[in-house]
Structure formats: structure tokens, C-alpha cells
Amino acid sequence: MTRKDVESLFKTHYAQMYHLALTLLFDEAESKDVVSEVFASLLSGSTVVRADNAKAFLLASVHHRCLNVLQHKQVQERFARLLTEGTDTLISDNTVEEQMQMEELMRYLQDNLSPLSLEIFRLRYLKEMTCQKVAEALNVSRQTVHTHLKQTVEKIRKYFNSNSKAI
């Protein structure tokens, strides 16, 4: 493999690999590190990547590395940040199928929840703000934040239970 080959793989697949890492780790710096490590491992020459399965290989490598990163985090952090941990979660390896499931869930939530509920969930879990901070940011009471979160969690439960979708 030459420098040109590495560069071409990098430029073709970087964005997708980074996005996959982001939806598992939620941290930009950590995600970039993971993708960079995958390419660094190619440089050692121990793995040969063929053009026809490069994408699957690179995405599987990212996935594998992310799970490793998650497994090394403390249970408390995983719980507090809702990180999908380890192998018992049965995260699908089929990225396309998984993306469709995520889109479907998102559509369901957008159809069934108020914009405020969605925003509260987003701030609370994606921005990782405390309920108090969310309340201050949206200028509502802490109780309101709690009520909306509860509704959202119930809807998510309902979605999975009614469709008997196992993840």
C-alpha cells in the first residue's frame, strides 16, 4: 500500500467512519481518535485492505474500537451518559439496518412528542446538562423538565414494546 492508497481510503471513508464513532461515543475528540487509530493500524502493514471490501472493513474496525473504548469506561459514566455498552446490547453490525431503525424511531418521536419534549431530551442527554441547567436554559421549572423527560421515556418504551423491537 502506498501513501496515495492510504490518502484515498482516508478521504473516501473518513466522514462515514467519524459519524459512526460519534453515534457511539458522542464525543468529537474521542471519535476522531478512534478513526485516526484505525488508519494508523493500516500503516503498520499487518492488515491488507482490498478496495472492494474497504468500507465494510473500516466501519467494522471503527465499531470494534468504539466498543473497546466504551467497555473501558466506568459503569457510572456509561449509565449517566446513556452509553450503549458492551456486547450484551446487541448493537447491530449492519450499519445500514441500524441507521434505518434510528430514523424510524426518530420519526416516531417527532410525530408523537412536542418540540419542547424533544428539546428537553436533547439538552439533557445529548448536551449532557443536568435537569437544573436544562430548566434554566429553557426558562421553565425543574418540575416541567422532569415531566417532559418522563413522557419522552414512556414514549420510547412504548415504541419498543409495541413494535416488540429488541435492541
Binding site: T47, S61, Q76, T130
Partner: protein, 251 residues
């Protein structure tokens, strides 16, 4: 038994608690509040306690489902988070400059080139040195070619073989495993594991279907124990194989 509603309440409370504690280090503004919190929860939730809580199937499922929902939210926002690929490449190239240079140096041409330019010759001896230089280069080339000649047939042979079909795995008894290494050259994991498993009398199961088609170059030392072989395979980036009661499970 907890009702669904109680469980969600409990979950939200637990989360707020772990969150507050994570942040309490950052903002130790009010010792009084911290003291009250400690007295409310005299025992801080330890890793073990949390693990016990999560050992409850319903609770774990709830956390998993919310984790997936969080991923879906993130996925929904990815369009706002497009990386600057060119800049990332520049960064990567700078950090791994020496390795990238080595990749290119492995091509014979630039090395020959470098050889000539690092050995500059004085003008008066140029005729003599050029002649000897050519002779030396010829020896170098001959040396490079010679040792590789006997190797070529063996690698090509390995290349042509499709182990899953060509290896008479069924006929090899465990006691008669030949000890010379077998080279899988660019062979799908699927075929590779089938061959290895047959020799060791175990089954193969793919939980991760995508892994079937991953191709590797792998030297299988057939004298190695199954555990040792799996350990070596697991050093590959994309592979995670476990052994569960006489079955190889690819995750």
C-alpha cells in the same frame, strides 16, 4: 414488583444523582448543599451497587433503549457535524509522516534514486566510479532478485488455494495435525474459521454477519492450540472471536 412508572421515576432519579455527583467536583460552590446531599444519600452509589441495579433485566433494557434513542437523536443531527476531511488528513499525515514515507520508500525505485544522490563522486574519478557503480548496482539488483525467486512459488501456491474447499479438513484427525504453518492469503474469515474449526472439532457461529467477508492474510501455525490461534486472530482490528462450549462465536 415495580410498576413501569415507578421504574422510570427511579431511573430518572438515579441518573440525576450520578450526574450531580459527576459535576459536584467541578462546582464545589456550596459545601452546605453537598453536605445535605450526602446526608440524603449517606452511602454513595458504588460501581457494584449500580451494577446490581443494572442486573435487573427490565432496568437494563430501559437503559439500552434510551441509549439507542440517544444514538438516534445524534444520528439525526449528523448533518450539522461534517468533518473537514482535508484538514483531518493533513493532521494525520503530519502525525504519521515517517510511516507514510516508509510506505513509499518500500517501492524499489526511490531507494535506488536515493543511493545515487547520497554518494556524490568527484569529477576526476567519475569514469572509474561510474563503471564500478553500475557493477555494484547490478549486484544489488541481482541480490534483490535472487532470494525472492524461490519464495515466489510458495506464496503463489498459497494464493491459489481456497482453504475452505481445498483443505481436506474433514480428513485431518486431531492427532495428526501437521505442524508446518498454513498461509491464508487474502481469504475470507468465513472460510478461514471453517477450516480451523474443522481441524479442532468445533463449530462456528457468526453473530456478526458482516465479519464473514473480511479478508485477511494469516499464518496459521497448526501446532498451536485453538486458544492460541483465536488469540492471534483477535489481534486483528475488526475481529472479535470468543470460544463458548465447543463453538467459535464471531461478534
Amino acid at each position: 414488583m415495580m410498576t413501569e412508572e415507578e421504574r422510570i421515576e427511579w431511573f430518572l432519579k438515579l441518573q440525576e444523582l450520578t450526574n450531580e455527583r459527576e459535576q459536584s467536583d467541578a462546582c464545589n460552590d456550596s459545601a452546605e448543599r453537598g453536605g445535605r446531599r450526602r446526608s440524603q444519600h449517606p452511602k454513595q452509589l458504588t460501581e457494584e451497587q449500580l451494577q446490581q441495579i443494572l442486573a435487573d433485566d427490565e432496568m437494563r433494557q430501559l437503559v439500552q433503549q434510551l441509549g439507542f434513542a440517544k444514538r438516534a437523536f445524534k444520528y439525526n443531527e449528523l448533518a450539522d457535524n461534517t468533518p473537514d476531511v482535508d484538514a483531518e488528513w493533513e493532521k494525520f499525515a503530519a502525525n504519521h509522516a515517517s510511516q507514510l514515507d516508509t510506505l513509499d520508500e518500500e517501492k524499489p525505485k526511490p531507494r535506488f534514486h536515493a543511493y545515487f544522490f547520497t554518494h556524490k563522486v568527484a569529477a576526476s574519478f567519475i569514469g572509474v566510479l561510474l563503471a564500478s557503480g553500475i557493477a555494484f548496482a547490478a549486484i544489488q539488483i541481482a541480490r534483490n532478485i535472487n532470494p525472492s525467486n524461490p519464495q515466489q512459488p510458495t506464496t503463489e501456491q498459497a494464493n491459489d488455494k481456497r482453504p475452505a474447499t481445498s483443505l481436506p479438513a474433514d480428513t485431518i484427525k486431531a492427532g495428526t495435525i501437521p505442524s508446518e504453518p498454513y498461509v491464508f492469503n487474502n481469504v475470507p474469515l468465513d472460510s478461514m474459521l471453517t477450516a480451523i474449526a474443522a481441524v479442532h472439532g468445533v463449530q462456528v457461529e457468526f453473530e456478526n454477519e458482516a465479519a464473514r467477508q473480511l479478508r485477511f492474510h494469516f499464518v496459521w501455525k497448526r501446532g498451536d492450540s485453538l486458544d492460541r490461534v483465536i488469540e492471534k486472530l483477535n489481534t486483528f482490528e475488526a475481529v472479535n472471536i470468543g470460544v463458548e462450549n465447543k463453538k467459535l462465536v464471531v461478534r
